[in-house]
């Protein structure tokens, strides 16, 4: 870099400190908007994803649906074995699969479950529910039930169950009361309500009941098999790829959470694109601002540029001076803006601690370095055209010789 160009660029900027500060403040504002939008859009996406996938399995493994066997296929006739609707899909040999699944890349938690439909009855009140039988120590690996208990405890003795708070309210149930559960296999048994939970998901709080794994076996008449294996993965957005790998390695039907939440993905994508457009506009504003300020500066300094050219300054030197000026404005403005944005975002709570009314801003997703790099690049690009124009100034015209 030409040291004399650096000196003259610095001198130009420092000779009009008010104008330079105003220009840098404009760049800083654009960078702050860029970072704020990145943090907000990223935080919103994180919050929505956390809220959506926080209490659901990311991948579910089940027995694949089998097509009915074809007994005869001839001209004009086909004989097909009727599907036995009384048989449930169950994973009979599941224990050897668990270590394989647990060691798969991206998998962070595995929960074999027994699931079934049942009716819960308390006096005259009856309500359909979904029952989930979990293994000891696996209660909270998919949905954070331990942390969602609002009354009672999360212990699951053989005769104990945990119910959702909406169900409890609808049926007028409290901890310690006894209810009757009748499974879809026709088995019926009394249970004591050990705890009431609120997950914040309406369907779970209204229809889910958790119980001991062994008790669920008996209630749903599954002496050895299990209904499904629920899995959490990290990151949740890789669920589709991990599901495909698990399908190949286990031979089970694997369903990723993304298959059932396409609308969320589309929403997040639209939101990200909106953010990109806003960020692009802030960059364009920076480019236009710097380019117009540089052009004005060049018009004002036309005779100075002319005299320098007359005294032997090359076109390259003139270009270097003005490109450096633009770049310095961009770098200082960008760093100032990034610092201001960082300080402004500092007191905001992390996304995981956001409560109603808070902006879900994730400082980590502020793209600080990207904002500084893009702004510097934009400032440099913005100054190239004015700098080239400066280099083309005819010294004879500029100095009126």
């Amino acid at each position: 870099m030409n040291p004399y160009a650096v000196k003259l660029a610095m001198r130009h900027l420092l000779s009009h400190p008010g104008q330079t500060a105003l220009l840098m403040a404009g760049v800083a504002l654009g960078v702050s908007v860029f970072i704020f939008m990145s943090a907000l859009i990223g935080g919103l996406a994180t919050l929505l994803t956390l809220r959506t996938v926080g209490s659901i399995p990311h991948v579910v493994l089940e027995m694949p649906d089998r097509d009915p066997a074809t007994l005869y296929m001839g001209p004009g006739a086909q004989v097909v074995l009727q599907k036995d609707l009384s048989r449930r899909g169950q994973i009979t040999i599941w224990q050897p699969m668990i270590p394989i699944i647990e060691q798969s890349s991206g998998v962070i938690a595995v929960s074999p479950q027994i699931r079934g439909s049942a009716f819960v009855q308390r006096g005259q009140a009856v309500s359909p529910v979904g029952v989930i039988g979990t293994m000891p120590g696996k209660l909270s690996v998919i949905a954070e039930i331990d942390g969602a208990i609002v009354d009672g405890s999360s212990n699951l003795p053989a005769d104990g169950i945990l119910i959702g708070s909406v169900l409890a309210r609808d049926l007028g149930l409290r901890v310690g009361q006894v209810v009757q559960l009748t499974s879809d296999r026709g088995r019926s048994r009394s249970f004591r309500i050990g705890g009431i939970f609120t997950l914040g998901i309406a369907s779970a709080d209204r229809q889910s009941i958790y119980m001991n794994f062994a008790t669920a076996r008996a209630l749903f008449d599954l002496p050895t098999g299990i209904s499904r294996i629920e899995i959490k993965v990290q990151p949740a957005t890789d669920a589709a790829g991990i599901a495909e790998r698990l399908r190949l390695s286990t031979g089970l039907k694997a369903t990723a959470w993304t298959e059932d939440n396409q609308q969320l993905f589309e929403g997040l994508d639209a939101q990200a694109r909106t953010g990109t457009i806003i960020k692009a506009f802030s960059l364009v504003t920076i480019i236009v601002g710097i380019a117009s300020a540089m052009l004005l500066s060049i018009v004002r300094r036309q005779s100075e540029i002319g005299i320098m050219r007359a005294m032997g300054a090359s076109r390259g030197l003139v270009i270097s001076i003005y490109v450096l000026e633009g770049t310095l404005i961009g770098v200082v403005g960008a760093i100032t803006g990034a610092l201001a944005a960082w300080l402004a975002l500092l007191p905001l709570p992390p996304v995981s601690a956001v409560t109603r009314g808070d902006l879900p801003i994730d400082r980590q997703q502020g793209d600080f370095l990207l904002a500084i790099a893009l702004t510097t690049l934009a400032a440099t690009l913005a100054s190239i055209l004015p700098a080239r124009r400066a280099a083309r100034i005819d010294p004879v015209e500029a100095i009126g010789a």
């Binding site: 005779s303 100075e304 005299i307 005294m311 032997g312 090359s314 004879v396 009126g400 010789a401």
Partner: protein
């Protein structure tokens, strides 16, 4: 003993515009200058003095003719070659000082050398100090142009023209904006530099008093040299 010839132009013409609007500003100019010569270029307004100085200073190309200096064919040199030649061999003093307002007197004097070298050096600084001493402004070296009088600014401009030890200094009405006392001071300075440093001067002027202080008169009338 014949002094070495540094500049030679023959049959030089300069036209502006085309077709019906074409104007012939310089017509068949033939001129030579020797090393150490101090010449006055006289003529009424519009006679082509400034255009001739601009062409001799390689800031503009002639339409035709030859233009050689120190054996270099400047008529056919590239723009980059002309810029380099200008920075090494030519000095300029204009009617208006044209100092850079953001630089001190010392930095303004160094500017042509720093532009060519890409940096300011201690040698340049020492040479610029010497020149400011020579023009009587050693106590103004850190002053910016705005803090100096018109005469002082023009003396800084003279010092700036000499920083690269030019073979030829082209001065376009260098005293045109100064009162008589300041003008005399600047002319004394030019004369002293011409005598001590050996640079040639071609000074465009309307002022007979200024012209009288030069060794040679070159008179232009309607784009032609009528006396040399």
């Amino acid at each position: 003993m014949t002094k070495e010839q540094i500049l030679s132009v023959t049959g030089l013409i300069k036209d502006f515009g085309e077709g019906e609007t074409q104007t012939h500003v310089l017509k068949d100019i033939n001129l030579a200058m020797a090393a150490g010569e101090m010449a006055a270029l006289l003529g009424p307004s519009g006679s082509g003095k400034s255009t001739l100085l601009t062409i001799l200073g390689t800031l503009m190309r002639a339409t035709g003719g030859t233009h050689e200096m120190l054996g270099v064919d400047l008529m056919h040199a590239s723009e980059a070659q002309r810029t380099e030649f200008r920075s090494k061999n030519l000095g300029f003093v204009f009617q208006f000082h044209h100092l850079l307002p953001d630089l001190s007197a010392l930095e303004n004097v160094m500017m042509p050398a720093a532009c060519a070298a890409g940096r300011e050096t201690a040698t340049m600084r020492a040479r610029a100090s010497e020149l400011l001493d020579a023009v009587g402004l050693s106590d103004r070296r850190d002053f910016r142009p705005a803090a100096m009088s018109g005469g002082q600014r023009q003396r800084v401009a003279v010092a700036r023209a000499l920083i690269n030890n030019p073979v030829l200094v082209l001065a376009d009405e260098p005293t045109g904006n100064l009162d008589r006392e300041s003008a005399d001071h600047v002319m004394d300075l030019i004369h002293k530099i011409n005598q001590t440093m050996g640079s040639s001067f071609l000074i465009s002027t309307h002022d007979e008093h200024i012209a009288g202080r030069c060794q040679r008169r070159i008179e232009l009338l309607d784009g032609r040299i009528v006396r040399s």
